[in-house]
């Protein structure tokens, strides 16, 4: 089946983002297709390349990146939510004259239309809320 996930919750103060990762991994293990993962609200914070978890904790950012690389996942970060949270790709850093692009590789900034499309074309949409 074709799934899309929406992730709202902060990856740092809530368990939800990590539950979503386990669910996504299991979907793929079971042979399902993930059309898109859409990060919204504080969920976008996982895409900051500067994230440095303590050594004895799991790293959700690198986990998502590895999963995306292995399965060519479409990881879309809501651009409006990201820019106001200080997560910028090259274009946005230039546009707003900020010193650094810090969007982690493997993620892409885009608009809510990507979520609407995901809802339209997926068999199941699963929300991971805060």
């Amino acid at each position: 089946m074709k799934f899309s996930l929406v992730i709202h919750a902060s990856p740092f103060s809530a368990q939800t983002s990590s539950t979503a990762y386990r669910y996504a991994k299991c979907l793929l293990d079971e042979g399902h297709q993930i059309f898109r993962i859409f990060y919204y609200g504080d969920g976008v914070l996982v895409a900051n390349q500067q994230i440095t978890p303590p050594q004895d904790e799991s790293n959700l950012l690198t986990a998502w990146q590895a999963l995306a690389e292995e399965h060519a996942l479409d990881l879309v970060v809501c651009i409006a939510a990201a820019v106001k949270r200080g997560i910028l790709d090259e274009n946005e850093a230039k546009r707003y004259e900020k010193p650094n692009a810090n969007l982690a590789s493997g993620f892409e900034l885009s608009g809510l239309g990507q979520l609407a499309e995901a809802i339209a074309v997926s068999d199941r949409v699963v929300t991971f809320g805060s």
């Binding site: 929406v6 239309g113 979520l115 809320g129």
Partner: protein, 121 residues
């Protein structure tokens, strides 16, 4: 994009205290631009988003009531509120910023059933 899927957005958060209300409206408008039929249910604390005479000037935040007023322009007119939530807050339809469809709480299950996708905020 494939055949139009209907979407129900369930709003359960008060305005201003969290950003859930704004994020749900942004999504509702976007889905409507993509011509997906959108219904909005304001339930529990979500009812508070609709209370009229909001003036958030001191908070320096956007007026939620004004964002709601965009809904009819996007042809979103299926806006549901339960009679039970109104009465538990001693409010009536006159306290609300816009016309809504009043339903009984036990109609929510069929709203969930009828729509292809349900998102909660």
């Amino acid at each position: 994009m494939s055949a139009k899927k209907s979407i129900l957005i369930i709003n359960q958060s008060a305005p201003y205290g969290s950003s859930n209300g704004r994020e749900s409206l942004d999504l509702a408008l976007t889905c409507s631009i993509f011509e997906m039929p959108v219904s909005l249910l304001f339930v529990g604390d979500g009812l508070y988003q609709l209370i009229n005479n909001q003036s958030p000037e001191q908070l320096q935040m956007k007026k939620h009531e004004a964002m709601l007023s965009a809904l009819p322009m996007y042809d979103i007119d299926q806006i549901y509120v339960t009679a039970e939530d109104l009465s538990e807050n001693d409010l009536t339809e006159n306290d609300l910023a816009m016309p809504v469809t009043l339903i009984q709480r036990d109609v929510i299950a069929s709203l969930i059933q009828q729509n292809d996708s349900v998102l909660t905020f």
